[in-house]
C-alpha cells in the first residue's frame, strides 16, 4: 500500500525551512551532509543486494525476455520524458534523468539534488510521486490498453511494492513474480542511471 511517510518527512523539512528555524550555517553544512549520507545510502543499497543470495538465483533463472522488461521500462520512460519534457521547455538532461526515476521518487529527488540542484530535485520528486499515484489509480486502464507487459512497465520501480497488489488485481496472479523482479531490477539500476543519464545528456 501507499506509504505516506517519505512525503511527511519531506514536508516536515519544508515547513521547518520555510519558517526559518534552521540553525546558522545550515546552508554550508547541507552539501557535505548530503554527500556523506549519499555514500552511506549507496553502501546500504549494495549491502542489501549482496546479502540476498536468492535474488541472484532468481535473476539467473528468469528468461531473457523477462529481464528485458525493466530495461524497456527505463528506456521507454526516458524517451517519453524527453519528448514531453521538451514540449514544456525542460532541458533534455533534466527531462531524461527525472523520467529515469520510473516512480522511485525519494531516490530520484536525492540524486537530482546532488546532480542538478533544488529545482530539478523538486521536479523529479513531483513527477515520480505523481507517476506512482497515477499507476495505482489507472492500473486497469493500462492492462486494457497496453496489456499485462505494458502495465508492468508503467508501474516501473513501484511494481515490487506499492503497485504490486494493484497489478495482481488487474492483470492476474501469474504476473506477480515478473512484476516483483522487474521492480527490484529497476530499483537497483535507477540509483546509478539517474545521475549517469543527467551527466551524459546535459
Amino acid at each position: 500500500m501507499f506509504d505516506p511517510k517519505p512525503i511527511l518527512v519531506l514536508l516536515a523539512g519544508v515547513i521547518l525551512g520555510a519558517m526559518g528555524h534552521l540553525p546558522e550555517g545550515f546552508d554550508d553544512l547541507i552539501g557535505p551532509l548530503l554527500r556523506g549520507a549519499l555514500i552511506l545510502l549507496f553502501l546500504a543499497i549494495g549491502f542489501d543486494m549482496g546479502k540476498e543470495p536468492r535474488l541472484w538465483e532468481t535473476l539467473r533463472s528468469l528468461s531473457g525476455r523477462a529481464l528485458m522488461m525493466p530495461v524497456a521500462a527505463l528506456l521507454g520512460s526516458v524517451a517519453g520524458g524527453i519528448l514531453t519534457g521538451i514540449t514544456v521547455g525542460l532541458p533534455v538532461g533534466l527531462a531524461a534523468s527525472a523520467s529515469a526515476g520510473c516512480g522511485y521518487y525519494s531516490i530520484t529527488m536525492i540524486l537530482l539534488k546532488e546532480a542538478a540542484g533544488i529545482e530539478a530535485a523538486t521536479i523529479g520528486f513531483v513527477a515520480n510521486l505523481a507517476r506512482e499515484v497515477l499507476t495505482i489509480l489507472a492500473m486497469p486502464l493500462f492492462v486494457r490498453y497496453f496489456g499485462k507487459a505494458g502495465a508492468l512497465g508503467a508501474a516501473g520501480a513501484t511494481a515490487m511494492d506499492t503497485a504490486l497488489p494493484f497489478i495482481i488485481r488487474s492483470a492476474g496472479k501469474e504476473v506477480a513474480v515478473h512484476a516483483f523482479v522487474s521492480g527490484v531490477i529497476l530499483s537497483l539500476i535507477i540509483p546509478l542511471s539517474v545521475p549517469l543519464i543527467y551527466r551524459l545528456l546535459s
Binding site: 546500504a44 549491502f47 546479502k51 517519453g80 533544488i118 513527477a127 508492468l152 516501473g156 545521475p195
Partner: protein
C-alpha cells in the same frame, strides 16, 4: 559527485553483503539503516527547499513540467514494454 564514487560504494556494499563482512547485529539492521538514510536525506532536502522561497513560489510552473514528465514517462514505459513483452503476458 562523480558517478564512479556511487558505483564504487555500491560494489563495496554488494561485496560486504555477499561475503558477510559485517557483524550480525549490523547485518540485521541494514534495511533499517537504508530507510533511515533516505528519510534523513529527504528531511535535509526539505529544509533546503523550504528555505528557498523562489522555488516554492514557482511551484505551479514546476508542477506543470513535472506532470508532463510523469505522463511521458508512464506512456513511454507502457508502450515499449508492450512492444517488447507483447500484449498478453510477460
Amino acid at each position: 559527485m562523480d558517478i564512479l564514487v556511487f558505483a564504487l560504494c555500491l560494489a563495496i556494499g554488494i561485496a560486504a553483503g555477499y561475503r558477510n563482512w559485517l557483524p550480525p547485529y549490523l547485518t540485521s539492521r541494514s534495511s533499517w539503516g537504508l530507510t533511515a538514510a533516505v528519510y534523513l536525506l529527504l528531511f535535509l532536502i526539505g529544509c533546503e527547499l523550504g528555505s528557498y522561497r523562489s522555488v516554492l513560489e514557482q511551484m505551479s510552473g514546476l508542477g506543470v513540467q513535472a506532470a508532463a514528465l510523469c505522463l511521458g514517462g508512464l506512456l513511454g514505459s507502457a508502450l515499449l514494454c508492450r512492444i517488447v513483452g507483447g500484449g498478453g503476458g510477460v
